[in-house]
Protein backbone atom coordinates (compact mmCIF):
# COMPACT_ATOMS: atom_id res chain seq x y z
CA UNK A 1 0.00 0.00 0.00
CA UNK A 2 2.71 2.43 0.90
CA UNK A 3 4.42 1.77 -2.33
CA UNK A 4 1.16 2.26 -4.20
CA UNK A 5 0.53 5.58 -2.43
CA UNK A 6 4.01 6.68 -3.23
CA UNK A 7 3.47 5.79 -6.89
CA UNK A 8 0.22 7.69 -6.94
CA UNK A 9 1.87 10.79 -5.53
CA UNK A 10 4.69 10.41 -7.94
CA UNK A 11 2.25 10.04 -10.82
CA UNK A 12 0.33 13.16 -9.77
CA UNK A 13 3.59 15.08 -9.48
CA UNK A 14 4.68 13.87 -12.91
CA UNK A 15 1.28 14.79 -14.36
CA UNK A 16 1.44 18.31 -12.95
CA UNK A 17 5.04 18.75 -14.06
CA UNK A 18 4.06 17.54 -17.52
CA UNK A 19 1.18 20.02 -17.66
CA UNK A 20 3.44 22.87 -16.61
CA UNK A 21 6.02 21.92 -19.19
CA UNK A 22 3.37 21.62 -21.93
CA UNK A 23 2.03 25.09 -20.99
CA UNK A 24 5.53 26.57 -21.22
CA UNK A 25 6.08 24.92 -24.59
CA UNK A 26 2.71 26.14 -25.85
CA UNK A 27 3.46 29.72 -24.76
CA UNK A 28 6.92 29.64 -26.32
CA UNK A 29 5.55 28.14 -29.53
CA UNK A 30 2.78 30.74 -29.72
CA UNK A 31 5.29 33.53 -29.22
CA UNK A 32 7.54 32.07 -31.92
CA UNK A 33 4.65 31.61 -34.34
CA UNK A 34 3.40 35.11 -33.63
CA UNK A 35 6.89 36.51 -34.18
CA UNK A 36 7.28 34.58 -37.45
CA UNK A 37 3.80 35.50 -38.55
CA UNK A 38 4.33 39.16 -37.87
CA UNK A 39 7.54 38.91 -39.91
CA UNK A 40 5.79 37.73 -43.02
CA UNK A 41 2.25 39.09 -42.79
CA UNK A 42 1.63 41.42 -45.72
CA UNK A 43 5.13 40.87 -47.11
CA UNK A 44 5.49 40.45 -50.81
CA UNK A 45 8.01 38.69 -53.01
CA UNK A 46 8.51 39.85 -56.57
CA UNK A 47 8.99 37.04 -59.07
CA UNK A 48 10.51 37.84 -62.42
CA UNK A 49 9.36 35.64 -65.30
CA UNK A 50 8.41 35.61 -68.97
CA UNK A 51 6.12 33.65 -71.30
CA UNK A 52 7.34 30.09 -70.91
CA UNK A 53 4.76 27.72 -72.36
CA UNK A 54 3.10 25.70 -71.03
CA UNK A 55 4.39 26.58 -67.55
CA UNK A 56 3.94 30.37 -67.69
CA UNK A 57 1.29 31.82 -69.95
CA UNK A 58 1.43 35.57 -70.49
CA UNK A 59 -1.81 37.01 -71.82
CA UNK A 60 -4.15 39.95 -71.40
CA UNK A 61 -5.17 39.02 -67.84
CA UNK A 62 -3.12 37.74 -64.94
CA UNK A 63 -0.35 35.24 -65.63
CA UNK A 64 -1.47 31.63 -65.79
CA UNK A 65 -0.03 28.14 -66.05
CA UNK A 66 1.17 25.32 -63.87
CA UNK A 67 4.35 27.27 -63.04
CA UNK A 68 2.31 30.18 -61.69
CA UNK A 69 0.16 27.82 -59.62
CA UNK A 70 3.28 26.23 -58.20
CA UNK A 71 5.12 29.49 -57.43
CA UNK A 72 2.01 31.01 -55.84
CA UNK A 73 1.53 27.96 -53.65
CA UNK A 74 5.19 28.05 -52.66
CA UNK A 75 5.10 31.70 -51.60
CA UNK A 76 1.74 31.49 -49.90
CA UNK A 77 2.82 28.49 -47.86
CA UNK A 78 5.86 30.48 -46.72
CA UNK A 79 3.59 33.40 -45.78
CA UNK A 80 4.37 35.75 -48.66
CA UNK A 81 2.23 37.33 -51.31
CA UNK A 82 3.58 36.79 -54.83
CA UNK A 83 3.86 39.70 -57.26
CA UNK A 84 4.72 38.66 -60.79
CA UNK A 85 6.78 40.87 -63.03
CA UNK A 86 7.16 40.02 -66.70
CA UNK A 87 10.75 40.68 -67.72
CA UNK A 88 12.44 40.28 -71.13
CA UNK A 89 13.95 36.82 -71.28
CA UNK A 90 17.53 38.05 -71.78
CA UNK A 91 17.35 40.36 -68.78
CA UNK A 92 15.82 38.03 -66.22
CA UNK A 93 19.11 36.77 -64.75
CA UNK A 94 20.42 40.34 -64.63
CA UNK A 95 17.27 41.58 -62.85
CA UNK A 96 17.76 38.84 -60.30
CA UNK A 97 21.46 39.63 -59.80
CA UNK A 98 20.67 43.33 -59.29
CA UNK A 99 17.88 42.57 -56.84
CA UNK A 100 15.24 44.15 -59.10
CA UNK A 101 13.25 40.95 -58.55
CA UNK A 102 13.43 38.71 -55.47
CA UNK A 103 12.94 35.45 -57.31
CA UNK A 104 13.04 34.31 -60.91
CA UNK A 105 11.79 31.43 -62.99
CA UNK A 106 12.88 29.95 -65.39
CA UNK A 107 16.61 30.21 -64.69
CA UNK A 108 19.21 28.05 -66.42
CA UNK A 109 22.36 26.53 -64.96
CA UNK A 110 24.68 29.12 -66.58
CA UNK A 111 22.58 31.95 -65.12
CA UNK A 112 22.84 30.79 -61.52
CA UNK A 113 26.22 32.41 -60.80
CA UNK A 114 24.88 35.55 -59.12
CA UNK A 115 21.86 34.10 -57.39
CA UNK A 116 20.79 31.34 -55.03
CA UNK A 117 19.04 28.18 -56.13
CA UNK A 118 15.77 27.32 -54.45
CA UNK A 119 16.93 23.74 -54.43
CA UNK A 120 19.71 21.54 -55.74
CA UNK A 121 16.91 19.80 -57.63
CA UNK A 122 15.91 21.55 -60.83
CA UNK A 123 12.18 22.21 -61.07
CA UNK A 124 12.07 20.67 -64.53
CA UNK A 125 14.13 19.73 -67.56
CA UNK A 126 14.02 21.11 -71.09
CA UNK A 127 14.58 18.79 -74.01
CA UNK A 128 15.88 20.08 -77.34
CA UNK A 129 14.64 18.66 -80.60
CA UNK A 130 13.96 19.02 -84.28
CA UNK A 131 10.67 20.18 -85.75
CA UNK A 132 9.51 19.01 -89.15
CA UNK A 133 6.63 19.43 -91.53
CA UNK A 134 4.30 16.62 -90.57
CA UNK A 135 4.83 14.69 -93.79
CA UNK A 136 8.59 14.66 -93.15
CA UNK A 137 8.40 13.77 -89.46
CA UNK A 138 11.35 11.77 -88.11
CA UNK A 139 10.28 10.03 -84.90
CA UNK A 140 13.70 8.80 -83.74
CA UNK A 141 16.53 11.32 -83.73
CA UNK A 142 18.96 8.62 -82.71
CA UNK A 143 18.82 7.54 -86.38
CA UNK A 144 21.45 10.08 -87.44
CA UNK A 145 21.35 9.06 -91.10
CA UNK A 146 17.83 10.45 -91.37
CA UNK A 147 18.80 14.02 -90.52
CA UNK A 148 22.51 14.38 -91.07
CA UNK A 149 22.09 15.86 -94.55
CA UNK A 150 18.98 17.94 -93.92
CA UNK A 151 18.96 21.74 -94.05
CA UNK A 152 18.35 22.66 -90.45
CA UNK A 153 17.57 26.20 -89.28
CA UNK A 154 17.64 27.57 -85.73
CA UNK A 155 17.14 30.86 -83.89
CA UNK A 156 20.47 32.73 -83.96
CA UNK A 157 22.09 32.76 -80.53
CA UNK A 158 20.57 29.46 -79.49
CA UNK A 159 23.09 27.01 -78.13
CA UNK A 160 23.24 23.90 -80.30
CA UNK A 161 23.78 20.53 -78.64
CA UNK A 162 27.14 19.05 -79.67
CA UNK A 163 25.46 15.82 -80.86
CA UNK A 164 23.62 17.76 -83.59
CA UNK A 165 26.56 19.99 -84.51
CA UNK A 166 28.83 16.95 -84.87
CA UNK A 167 26.58 15.18 -87.33
CA UNK A 168 25.05 17.96 -89.40
CA UNK A 169 27.02 20.58 -91.29
CA UNK A 170 24.03 22.41 -92.77
CA UNK A 171 22.93 24.29 -89.67
CA UNK A 172 21.78 27.82 -90.50
CA UNK A 173 21.03 30.50 -87.92
CA UNK A 174 18.00 32.74 -88.50
CA UNK A 175 17.81 36.20 -86.93
CA UNK A 176 15.11 38.80 -86.42
CA UNK A 177 11.94 39.50 -84.48
CA UNK A 178 9.22 36.86 -83.87
CA UNK A 179 11.86 34.29 -84.49
CA UNK A 180 9.68 31.26 -83.75
CA UNK A 181 7.13 32.35 -86.35
CA UNK A 182 9.89 32.90 -88.87
CA UNK A 183 11.32 29.45 -88.29
CA UNK A 184 7.94 27.79 -88.73
CA UNK A 185 7.13 29.87 -91.82
CA UNK A 186 10.44 28.85 -93.41
CA UNK A 187 9.71 25.24 -92.55
CA UNK A 188 6.16 25.35 -93.90
CA UNK A 189 7.29 26.99 -97.16
CA UNK A 190 9.95 24.27 -97.57
CA UNK A 191 12.84 26.72 -97.31
CA UNK A 192 14.26 24.38 -94.70
CA UNK A 193 13.88 20.69 -93.86
CA UNK A 194 13.87 21.02 -90.08
CA UNK A 195 14.12 23.59 -87.30
CA UNK A 196 16.21 23.03 -84.20
CA UNK A 197 14.59 24.24 -80.96
CA UNK A 198 16.18 24.30 -77.52
CA UNK A 199 12.91 23.24 -75.91
CA UNK A 200 10.36 21.20 -77.78
CA UNK A 201 7.39 21.56 -75.42
CA UNK A 202 6.47 25.23 -76.13
CA UNK A 203 6.59 24.60 -79.88
CA UNK A 204 4.80 21.30 -79.99
CA UNK A 205 1.84 21.03 -77.67
CA UNK A 206 -1.86 20.77 -78.45
CA UNK A 207 -2.41 24.45 -77.61
CA UNK A 208 0.48 25.69 -79.72
CA UNK A 209 -0.43 27.77 -82.75
CA UNK A 210 2.09 25.71 -84.73
CA UNK A 211 0.46 22.37 -83.86
CA UNK A 212 -1.32 22.02 -87.20
CA UNK A 213 1.82 22.74 -89.21
CA UNK A 214 4.66 20.91 -87.52
CA UNK A 215 5.59 17.90 -85.42
CA UNK A 216 8.71 17.72 -83.28
CA UNK A 217 11.00 14.99 -82.02
CA UNK A 218 13.16 15.16 -78.92
CA UNK A 219 16.88 14.65 -78.48
CA UNK A 220 16.43 12.41 -75.46
CA UNK A 221 19.42 12.31 -73.18
CA UNK A 222 20.32 15.95 -73.95
CA UNK A 223 17.96 17.65 -71.51
CA UNK A 224 19.02 20.67 -69.48
CA UNK A 225 17.85 21.59 -65.97
CA UNK A 226 15.68 24.61 -65.23
CA UNK A 227 15.61 26.18 -61.76
CA UNK A 228 13.79 28.62 -59.54
CA UNK A 229 16.38 31.09 -58.24
CA UNK A 230 16.42 33.70 -55.49
CA UNK A 231 18.26 37.01 -55.33
CA UNK A 232 21.46 37.13 -53.28
CA UNK A 233 20.07 40.32 -51.79
CA UNK A 234 17.16 38.55 -50.11
CA UNK A 235 17.48 38.27 -46.34
CA UNK A 236 18.89 34.89 -45.30
CA UNK A 237 15.86 34.21 -43.08
CA UNK A 238 13.56 34.70 -46.08
CA UNK A 239 15.70 32.36 -48.19
CA UNK A 240 15.57 29.78 -45.39
CA UNK A 241 11.81 29.99 -45.01
CA UNK A 242 11.26 29.72 -48.80
CA UNK A 243 13.51 26.67 -48.98
CA UNK A 244 11.68 25.08 -46.06
CA UNK A 245 8.34 25.61 -47.80
CA UNK A 246 9.75 24.31 -51.07
CA UNK A 247 10.75 21.04 -49.41
CA UNK A 248 7.25 20.58 -48.01
CA UNK A 249 5.47 21.32 -51.27
CA UNK A 250 4.23 18.40 -53.42
CA UNK A 251 6.48 17.55 -56.34
CA UNK A 252 6.06 19.73 -59.43
CA UNK A 253 5.02 16.63 -61.37
CA UNK A 254 1.77 16.63 -59.36
CA UNK A 255 1.03 20.18 -60.52
CA UNK A 256 1.68 19.18 -64.11
CA UNK A 257 -0.82 16.32 -63.94
CA UNK A 258 -3.41 18.35 -62.08
CA UNK A 259 -3.41 21.05 -64.72
CA UNK A 260 -3.68 18.69 -67.64
CA UNK A 261 -6.75 16.88 -66.26
Amino acid sequence: MVILNCNKRSLIFRYLAGCALSCCCLILYSLKTFAEGSDTVGKTITIGTYGYQPHIKVGAGPLQGRGINYLSKLLESAGYEPIYQVVPRKRLAQYLANGKVDMAFPIYENELRNSKQMSVRPLLFETPGLCFRKENFIPFLSVIDRWKELDIIYAGGTEIIPFLAEHNTSLKPVFGASIQDRLIKMLASKRADAAYVANVLPMYNINSRFYKTIACSNFYGHSSPVYIAMSNQLDSSVIRSLRTSYKKLPHYVEFEIEISK
Binding site: K116, Q117, S119, V120, R121, P122, F125, K134, F137, I138, P139, F140, S142, V143, D145, R146, L201, Y204, N205, I206, S208, Y211, K212, A215, S217, Y220, G221, S223, P225, R243, K247, H251, V253, E254, E256, I257, S260, K261
Partner: protein, 260 residues
Protein backbone atom coordinates in the same frame (compact mmCIF):
# COMPACT_ATOMS: atom_id res chain seq x y z
CA UNK B 1 25.14 -17.80 -57.40
CA UNK B 2 26.40 -18.46 -53.87
CA UNK B 3 28.00 -15.04 -53.77
CA UNK B 4 24.83 -13.23 -54.75
CA UNK B 5 22.81 -15.24 -52.20
CA UNK B 6 25.27 -14.28 -49.46
CA UNK B 7 24.98 -10.65 -50.44
CA UNK B 8 21.22 -10.86 -50.52
CA UNK B 9 21.26 -12.32 -47.01
CA UNK B 10 23.50 -9.52 -45.84
CA UNK B 11 21.16 -7.07 -47.48
CA UNK B 12 18.08 -8.49 -45.80
CA UNK B 13 19.91 -8.50 -42.45
CA UNK B 14 20.92 -4.87 -42.82
CA UNK B 15 17.47 -4.00 -44.00
CA UNK B 16 15.63 -5.56 -41.07
CA UNK B 17 18.04 -4.35 -38.43
CA UNK B 18 18.77 -0.86 -39.52
CA UNK B 19 16.36 0.49 -42.09
CA UNK B 20 12.92 -0.81 -41.20
CA UNK B 21 11.92 -0.71 -44.89
CA UNK B 22 12.12 -3.69 -47.18
CA UNK B 23 14.40 -2.07 -49.76
CA UNK B 24 14.99 -5.20 -51.84
CA UNK B 25 11.22 -5.77 -51.96
CA UNK B 26 10.59 -2.12 -52.78
CA UNK B 27 13.16 -2.27 -55.59
CA UNK B 28 11.51 -5.33 -57.11
CA UNK B 29 8.07 -3.71 -56.91
CA UNK B 30 9.34 -0.53 -58.60
CA UNK B 31 10.95 -2.54 -61.39
CA UNK B 32 7.79 -4.62 -61.86
CA UNK B 33 5.63 -1.48 -62.12
CA UNK B 34 8.11 -0.01 -64.60
CA UNK B 35 7.99 -3.20 -66.69
CA UNK B 36 4.18 -3.37 -66.58
CA UNK B 37 3.87 0.22 -67.83
CA UNK B 38 6.26 -0.60 -70.66
CA UNK B 39 4.14 -3.61 -71.58
CA UNK B 40 0.98 -1.50 -71.66
CA UNK B 41 2.68 0.87 -74.04
CA UNK B 42 3.48 -2.04 -76.31
CA UNK B 43 -0.11 -3.26 -76.27
CA UNK B 44 -1.40 0.25 -76.98
CA UNK B 45 0.64 0.80 -80.15
CA UNK B 46 -2.40 0.66 -82.46
CA UNK B 47 -4.24 3.19 -80.31
CA UNK B 48 -1.21 5.48 -80.11
CA UNK B 49 -0.67 5.46 -83.88
CA UNK B 50 -4.31 5.72 -84.91
CA UNK B 51 -5.54 9.04 -86.25
CA UNK B 52 -8.89 9.30 -84.57
CA UNK B 53 -9.61 6.57 -82.01
CA UNK B 54 -10.58 7.33 -78.41
CA UNK B 55 -7.26 7.78 -76.62
CA UNK B 56 -8.52 8.51 -73.14
CA UNK B 57 -7.10 5.25 -71.77
CA UNK B 58 -3.60 6.54 -72.48
CA UNK B 59 -3.75 9.27 -69.85
CA UNK B 60 -4.33 9.74 -66.15
CA UNK B 61 -6.08 7.21 -63.95
CA UNK B 62 -7.31 5.22 -66.96
CA UNK B 63 -3.73 4.56 -67.98
CA UNK B 64 -2.91 3.41 -64.44
CA UNK B 65 -5.89 1.06 -64.67
CA UNK B 66 -4.38 -0.47 -67.80
CA UNK B 67 -1.10 -0.97 -65.97
CA UNK B 68 -3.02 -2.56 -63.10
CA UNK B 69 -4.52 -5.12 -65.50
CA UNK B 70 -1.10 -6.06 -66.87
CA UNK B 71 0.41 -6.18 -63.38
CA UNK B 72 -2.36 -8.54 -62.24
CA UNK B 73 -1.78 -10.72 -65.28
CA UNK B 74 1.97 -10.87 -64.63
CA UNK B 75 2.06 -11.13 -60.85
CA UNK B 76 -1.38 -12.31 -59.80
CA UNK B 77 -1.96 -9.27 -57.60
CA UNK B 78 -3.10 -5.67 -58.08
CA UNK B 79 -0.76 -2.81 -58.78
CA UNK B 80 1.03 -1.89 -55.51
CA UNK B 81 -0.33 1.08 -53.60
CA UNK B 82 1.66 4.29 -53.59
CA UNK B 83 2.54 3.71 -49.94
CA UNK B 84 6.17 4.76 -50.33
CA UNK B 85 7.31 8.10 -51.83
CA UNK B 86 9.35 6.25 -54.44
CA UNK B 87 6.33 4.33 -55.70
CA UNK B 88 4.25 7.53 -55.67
CA UNK B 89 6.96 9.27 -57.66
CA UNK B 90 7.03 6.46 -60.20
CA UNK B 91 3.26 6.67 -60.74
CA UNK B 92 3.47 10.45 -61.11
CA UNK B 93 6.37 10.09 -63.54
CA UNK B 94 4.45 7.56 -65.68
CA UNK B 95 1.50 9.94 -65.97
CA UNK B 96 3.79 12.90 -66.69
CA UNK B 97 5.56 11.07 -69.50
CA UNK B 98 2.22 10.32 -71.13
CA UNK B 99 1.25 13.98 -70.69
CA UNK B 100 4.57 15.06 -72.23
CA UNK B 101 3.64 13.00 -75.26
CA UNK B 102 0.03 14.20 -75.51
CA UNK B 103 0.71 16.36 -78.56
CA UNK B 104 2.37 13.44 -80.33
CA UNK B 105 -0.27 10.88 -79.35
CA UNK B 106 -3.17 13.13 -80.35
CA UNK B 107 -1.58 14.34 -83.60
CA UNK B 108 -3.86 13.18 -86.45
CA UNK B 109 -1.30 14.21 -89.05
CA UNK B 110 1.25 11.54 -88.16
CA UNK B 111 0.94 7.98 -89.42
CA UNK B 112 3.66 6.64 -87.13
CA UNK B 113 4.28 8.43 -83.84
CA UNK B 114 7.39 6.58 -82.69
CA UNK B 115 6.26 6.38 -79.08
CA UNK B 116 7.48 2.85 -78.49
CA UNK B 117 8.42 1.01 -75.27
CA UNK B 118 12.09 1.93 -75.68
CA UNK B 119 11.46 5.69 -75.95
CA UNK B 120 8.79 5.55 -73.26
CA UNK B 121 11.17 3.71 -70.90
CA UNK B 122 13.94 6.20 -71.58
CA UNK B 123 11.70 9.18 -70.88
CA UNK B 124 10.30 7.51 -67.78
CA UNK B 125 13.72 6.70 -66.39
CA UNK B 126 14.82 10.29 -66.99
CA UNK B 127 11.70 11.76 -65.33
CA UNK B 128 12.02 9.41 -62.39
CA UNK B 129 15.77 9.67 -61.92
CA UNK B 130 15.98 13.45 -62.39
CA UNK B 131 13.42 14.17 -59.69
CA UNK B 132 16.07 14.69 -57.04
CA UNK B 133 15.09 11.59 -55.06
CA UNK B 134 17.99 9.29 -54.22
CA UNK B 135 16.84 6.68 -56.70
CA UNK B 136 17.74 5.97 -60.30
CA UNK B 137 16.11 3.64 -62.79
CA UNK B 138 17.61 2.94 -66.15
CA UNK B 139 17.06 0.73 -69.13
CA UNK B 140 20.44 -0.78 -69.95
CA UNK B 141 21.44 -2.31 -73.26
CA UNK B 142 24.30 -4.56 -74.23
CA UNK B 143 27.52 -2.66 -74.83
CA UNK B 144 28.19 -4.09 -78.28
CA UNK B 145 24.73 -3.32 -79.63
CA UNK B 146 23.42 -0.04 -78.30
CA UNK B 147 20.82 1.95 -80.19
CA UNK B 148 20.95 4.78 -77.65
CA UNK B 149 24.32 5.56 -76.05
CA UNK B 150 22.50 6.74 -72.92
CA UNK B 151 21.59 3.11 -72.27
CA UNK B 152 25.26 2.19 -71.82
CA UNK B 153 25.61 -0.05 -68.74
CA UNK B 154 27.96 1.00 -65.92
CA UNK B 155 30.58 -1.39 -64.52
CA UNK B 156 28.19 -3.18 -62.14
CA UNK B 157 25.45 -3.49 -64.76
CA UNK B 158 27.94 -4.75 -67.33
CA UNK B 159 29.24 -7.44 -64.96
CA UNK B 160 25.71 -8.56 -64.07
CA UNK B 161 24.59 -8.67 -67.71
CA UNK B 162 27.72 -10.59 -68.68
CA UNK B 163 26.96 -13.17 -65.96
CA UNK B 164 23.28 -13.36 -66.89
CA UNK B 165 24.12 -13.84 -70.57
CA UNK B 166 25.84 -17.15 -69.86
CA UNK B 167 23.55 -18.52 -67.15
CA UNK B 168 19.90 -19.46 -66.95
CA UNK B 169 18.01 -19.14 -63.68
CA UNK B 170 14.50 -19.93 -62.55
CA UNK B 171 13.71 -16.46 -61.23
CA UNK B 172 14.43 -14.80 -64.55
CA UNK B 173 17.92 -13.91 -63.38
CA UNK B 174 16.99 -10.95 -61.17
CA UNK B 175 20.12 -9.82 -59.34
CA UNK B 176 20.27 -7.74 -56.15
CA UNK B 177 23.38 -6.51 -54.42
CA UNK B 178 24.45 -3.92 -51.87
CA UNK B 179 27.36 -1.87 -53.21
CA UNK B 180 29.40 0.91 -51.65
CA UNK B 181 29.75 4.15 -53.60
CA UNK B 182 31.57 7.06 -51.97
CA UNK B 183 30.90 5.56 -48.56
CA UNK B 184 27.16 5.20 -49.20
CA UNK B 185 25.26 1.93 -49.38
CA UNK B 186 23.43 1.41 -52.63
CA UNK B 187 20.85 -1.29 -53.10
CA UNK B 188 21.19 -2.30 -56.71
CA UNK B 189 18.73 -4.45 -58.63
CA UNK B 190 18.85 -5.56 -62.22
CA UNK B 191 16.11 -7.43 -63.98
CA UNK B 192 17.22 -8.88 -67.30
CA UNK B 193 14.94 -8.52 -70.31
CA UNK B 194 14.78 -11.15 -73.00
CA UNK B 195 13.45 -10.66 -76.54
CA UNK B 196 9.86 -11.79 -76.96
CA UNK B 197 8.05 -12.26 -80.27
CA UNK B 198 6.72 -8.68 -80.16
CA UNK B 199 10.22 -7.25 -79.82
CA UNK B 200 11.51 -9.09 -82.87
CA UNK B 201 9.58 -6.93 -85.34
CA UNK B 202 12.28 -4.30 -84.76
CA UNK B 203 15.10 -6.24 -83.09
CA UNK B 204 14.90 -9.56 -84.94
CA UNK B 205 16.19 -10.83 -88.25
CA UNK B 206 15.36 -9.46 -91.69
CA UNK B 207 12.58 -12.04 -92.01
CA UNK B 208 10.94 -10.68 -88.83
CA UNK B 209 10.67 -7.17 -90.29
CA UNK B 210 6.96 -6.42 -90.90
CA UNK B 211 8.00 -4.25 -93.83
CA UNK B 212 9.09 -7.45 -95.61
CA UNK B 213 5.73 -9.18 -95.25
CA UNK B 214 4.13 -10.06 -98.59
CA UNK B 215 7.29 -8.99 -100.43
CA UNK B 216 9.57 -11.32 -102.37
CA UNK B 217 12.88 -12.03 -100.65
CA UNK B 218 15.01 -10.12 -103.15
CA UNK B 219 13.21 -6.91 -102.23
CA UNK B 220 13.49 -7.30 -98.45
CA UNK B 221 14.77 -4.32 -96.51
CA UNK B 222 17.30 -4.46 -93.68
CA UNK B 223 15.90 -1.28 -92.14
CA UNK B 224 13.22 -1.50 -89.46
CA UNK B 225 10.36 0.87 -88.75
CA UNK B 226 12.54 2.99 -86.47
CA UNK B 227 15.14 3.45 -89.21
CA UNK B 228 17.78 1.12 -87.82
CA UNK B 229 19.26 -2.00 -89.34
CA UNK B 230 17.54 -5.17 -88.06
CA UNK B 231 20.05 -6.36 -85.44
CA UNK B 232 19.47 -10.12 -85.92
CA UNK B 233 18.33 -11.13 -82.45
CA UNK B 234 16.30 -14.28 -81.83
CA UNK B 235 13.48 -15.21 -79.50
CA UNK B 236 14.79 -15.52 -75.92
CA UNK B 237 18.07 -13.67 -76.54
CA UNK B 238 19.18 -11.29 -73.81
CA UNK B 239 18.09 -7.72 -74.68
CA UNK B 240 19.48 -5.88 -71.65
CA UNK B 241 17.80 -5.10 -68.38
CA UNK B 242 16.09 -2.64 -66.09
CA UNK B 243 18.48 -1.40 -63.45
CA UNK B 244 17.45 0.30 -60.21
CA UNK B 245 19.76 2.00 -57.72
CA UNK B 246 18.52 3.05 -54.28
CA UNK B 247 20.73 5.25 -52.14
CA UNK B 248 19.72 3.91 -48.74
CA UNK B 249 21.19 6.74 -46.68
CA UNK B 250 19.62 9.28 -49.02
CA UNK B 251 16.20 7.70 -48.57
CA UNK B 252 16.61 7.62 -44.79
CA UNK B 253 17.46 11.30 -44.88
CA UNK B 254 14.24 11.81 -46.84
CA UNK B 255 16.10 12.63 -50.02
CA UNK B 256 17.30 15.67 -48.19
CA UNK B 257 20.13 16.91 -50.36
CA UNK B 258 19.02 20.48 -50.12
CA UNK B 259 21.02 23.65 -49.79
CA UNK B 260 21.26 25.28 -46.39
Amino acid sequence: MKFSRLLLLALLFLNNRAFGVDYPGLSIEVINIFMASKEVLFEKQAEINSANSDKSSLFGQLFLREIDLVYKRNHGQPLPKADHPIKALLYQSILSVMEDNRALIMDPGLVYKGLIPATFSFQLSQRFSNSGYPVKIKFVGLRNNLVNEANNPDVWEYEVLSRVAVSVSEDGGLVQQVTEENGRSMVRTLKPIYFSLDCLSCHGTVSDNPANKFISKEHWTLINKAGFKMPNYHLGDLAGGVSLTLDVLGIQEGGNLELQ
